[in-house]
Amino acid sequence: MQRHLISAADLTRDDAVLILDTAEEMARVADRPIKKLPTLRGRTVVNLFFEDSTRTRISFEAAEKRLSADVINFSAKGSSVSKGESLKDTAQTLEAMGVDAVVIRHGASGAPYRLATSGWIDAHVINAGDGTHQHPTQALLDAFTMRRRLVGRDAGLGQDLNGRRITLVGDVLHSRVARSNVDLLHTLGAEVTLVAPPTLLPVGVGTWPCEVSYDLDSTLPKSDAVMMLRVQRERMNAAFFPTEREYSRRYGLDGDRMARMPEHAIVMHPGPMVRGMEITAEVADSDRCTVVEQVANGVSIRMAVLYLLLGGAEFQTPSTSAAPARTAEEN
């Protein structure tokens, strides 16, 4: 694995499966009376949130605390950023405080990459969502949820999502979740189909490793998992579809459409859901919908990522040569 987690596209299949397997063990900590591991004791993690977020920030914070890291929360509101401080100066302030990892959410695509590669800080950088670019931990938790539901909790260990048919529906244009998911699911061997009105598909979508369709009804019966994406009004600066009603008629998931999905297929949503827009209350509350499960899995996935990035030694050389012939001393 690399030092940072910036994009789901940076993960190899083995990296991704290792994260999912590690998360499966982390999930068991949640069942214990003491939901805490001493692994990251004495490490400091900063949650640097330049954009609003509830579930991602809380999820990272819970994961960090369960691993005993010291957590510093930073939100742009009420900080020096609102006085005009640049990302560079904020980063150097954090570096001076000696942080070990920075979890960053930023409205600008590429901000985490800039932070990781500019030499401003030594800390590990974990992307918690940047603009319309990437949200790798979300993709990982989605893949984790799919593997659990479609392959099985124990049967899934060591497995990828080979041959599973995943459909992503809605505002692909503004969705970092969709980008990350397409990258990761492709790496894991799944067949991804994007369904959206042409106006909500980004330029160059033809080069992505996935199929594109404009027709939800014909895609549903061929899907093992359907992920509904929120229409991101806050990022919309033009008219992408005539009316909300027309959008939800053609691309919203209601009970009738859900009935057309295969028996085992699940409905996913990265949240926050807009009920009545992309998903009806009937679907959102059904037991095929994994929204709440995804949130719980998010903590496990983030624990796994933090452990794998921060839990061991910094290794400059590839990991194979790092531990030569230590078998017997382990005991």
């Binding site: 030694a313 017997a328 382990e330």
Partner: protein, 194 residues
């Protein structure tokens, strides 16, 4: 606690000599099972927890033997200590193994930790820390197949399969049928560090 080191087995087994063979291991496990029953006066509240990887197989074997002796099922599980190690920061991140605590938990029980080789004692220290987060046993005991000495912490085993005096230049490798296809304990010379 074993780690799976891709380079060592083939190379180090070449000049390694067996110190315990399959029948010896079977006899030793039977003896340990009897000792547990004797000391615990019937093994009513015994919970066996193996330390992955090979400790888990040994714990399951012990559970079978205990069942034959006491005609009662003995709860058996596994305890992964990776997250509690004191050398985590010295090595690249390790993959985690499964922690499986039997349904009734460990509160008020007699927990017998099972591992293949007892060496520095650091694994067992980590295991004691891990147990602390899971519950409060009545007592904790330790059973190992091989005690090779060179303790770095004040820890001792309650049940020892074989005391094996070794030098620090030697390696002890336990092979078990479940993982390695055969039962044997090998004593070999450590390779010079590359």
């Amino acid at each position: 606690m074993d780690t799976h080191d891709p380079q060592s087995p083939a190379a180090s087994q070449a000049d390694a000599r067996p110190v315990l063979e399959a029948p010896d291991i079977a006899r030793v496990m039977t003896r340990i099972a009897h000792e547990i029953v004797e000391r615990a006066k019937g093994a009513d509240d015994v919970v066996l927890l193996g330390i992955p990887t090979r400790g888990v197989f040994l714990a399951r074997r012990l559970a079978d033997k205990l069942e034959q002796i006491t005609e009662r099922k003995v709860p058996v599980g596994s305890l992964d200590i990776t997250m509690y190690r004191d050398d985590l920061r010295l090595q690249p991140p390790r993959a985690l193994a499964r922690t499986e605590i039997p349904g009734d938990g460990i509160d008020g029980k007699l927990v017998v930790l099972v591992d293949d080789v007892l060496f520095s004692g650091r694994t067992i220290r980590a295991a004691l820390d891990a147990l602390n987060d899971i519950g409060r046993p009545r007592a904790v005991q330790l059973a190992v197949l091989v005690d090779r000495g060179h303790r770095e912490l004040p820890i001792r085993a309650d049940y020892v399969g074989k005391n094996l005096p070794t030098s620090l230049r030697e390696t002890v490798k336990v092979l078990l049928a479940e993982e390695d296809g055969r039962d044997t304990v090998l004593l070999g010379a450590k390779q010079a560090p590359q």
